[in-house]
Amino acid sequence: MTSINPHIQTAPNDVALWLGEETVAVGEESAAVSRAFEIFLNEYFIPVSRDAIPYIRFHQLKERWEAETDFLSSVSDIVMHPAYQQIIGMGPAAIPFILREMSIKQAQWFWALKSITNEDPVKPEHRGIVAEMSRAWLQWGKDRGYID
């Protein structure tokens, strides 16, 4: 990336990133503060006691996962995100919600579905082709009555 300032020399391990208009939490502690206030705000609208309802829990986790992985390109970083792992932890209750999401928007749901179901309906020749993988999983969901 081109430096805007010839006097700010970046060391070999330095990383230069574009800064967006959104606030950047640049350290772990700073991210913890951002996260705490985000949870606080979410709980203002959706009381914490409703967290036990699977639909609400799934959407809270999904929103957090999407917001915090939006800028990531590594699939392993995306699927290792704590919110994604908590969706896997919801077990079979999450399957219809994941499939419904998948039918609306393509995203990296394959790892979660494989982890929860211990199945993989994707043909070997379609691995890596997101549209085909999604199609295979949606058909799998229809066959098992998870979605219409």
């Binding site: 300032n5 006097h7 060391a11 990383v15 800064l19 502690e29 503060v33």
Partner: protein, 178 residues
């Protein structure tokens, strides 16, 4: 997303500098060493920023220290470690499983303000309870872009920050930082 500047990160040295259209920030991640080394590097990079961005007026100066205190469990009373914490009415149950507290403290003498966030995170196993003690002290100014007065202001802000920090932690907490 509209870009507003650059973030330069030096992961090995745990520091970053933000050169933004609307400002400049120098970040140092844990472990924090000392004010002398921190401010010297911040000043050096600030000079580079001034030469390039040529700021006309400096509207806001701020120092933010986000401390993470890991309190060993079990604890009898939070006040054994931290004195700036939420107070529960004495007739209510005193146990807390989570809290988030935000205080805005003006300092008319310095014409500065502190925003203090105290947050309890989830315990790390059964041994440690992380508390985030976040102190953001700032001052609204109207200095010229090249003004040297900002360094005096930063020293004052640091004094204010230290007053808050050292009057909020106990000797037991200080031991955790050693």
């Amino acid at each position: 997303m509209q870009p507003v500047g650059y973030l330069y990160r030096a992961p090995m040295e745990k520091r970053a500098v933000q050169a933004r259209i609307d400002g400049y920030a120098f970040n140092k991640f844990s472990p924090y060493e000392n004010w002398g080394a921190f401010s010297a590097e911040a000043q050096e990079l600030w000079q580079s920023y001034v030469e390039t961005a040529k700021p006309e007026r400096l509207k806001r100066l701020a120092l933010r220290y986000i401390n993470r205190i890991e309190i060993p469990l079990p604890i009898r009373d939070f006040k054994d470690y931290l004195l700036t914490i939420p107070e529960i009415a004495p007739r209510l149950p005193q146990a807390l499983s989570n809290f988030i507290m935000r205080l805005v403290v003006p300092n008319p003498e310095m014409e500065a303000t502190a925003v203090i966030n105290v947050i309890m995170e989830q315990p790390l196993g059964r041994q440690l309870l992380p508390i985030i003690f976040d102190i953001d002290v700032f001052k609204i100014t109207n200095h010229a872009g090249t003004s040297e007065e900002i360094w005096y202001d930063f020293d004052q802000l640091r004094i204010f920050k230290n007053e808050i920090f050292f009057n909020s932690i106990t000797d037991k907490s200080k031991e955790l930082f050693q």
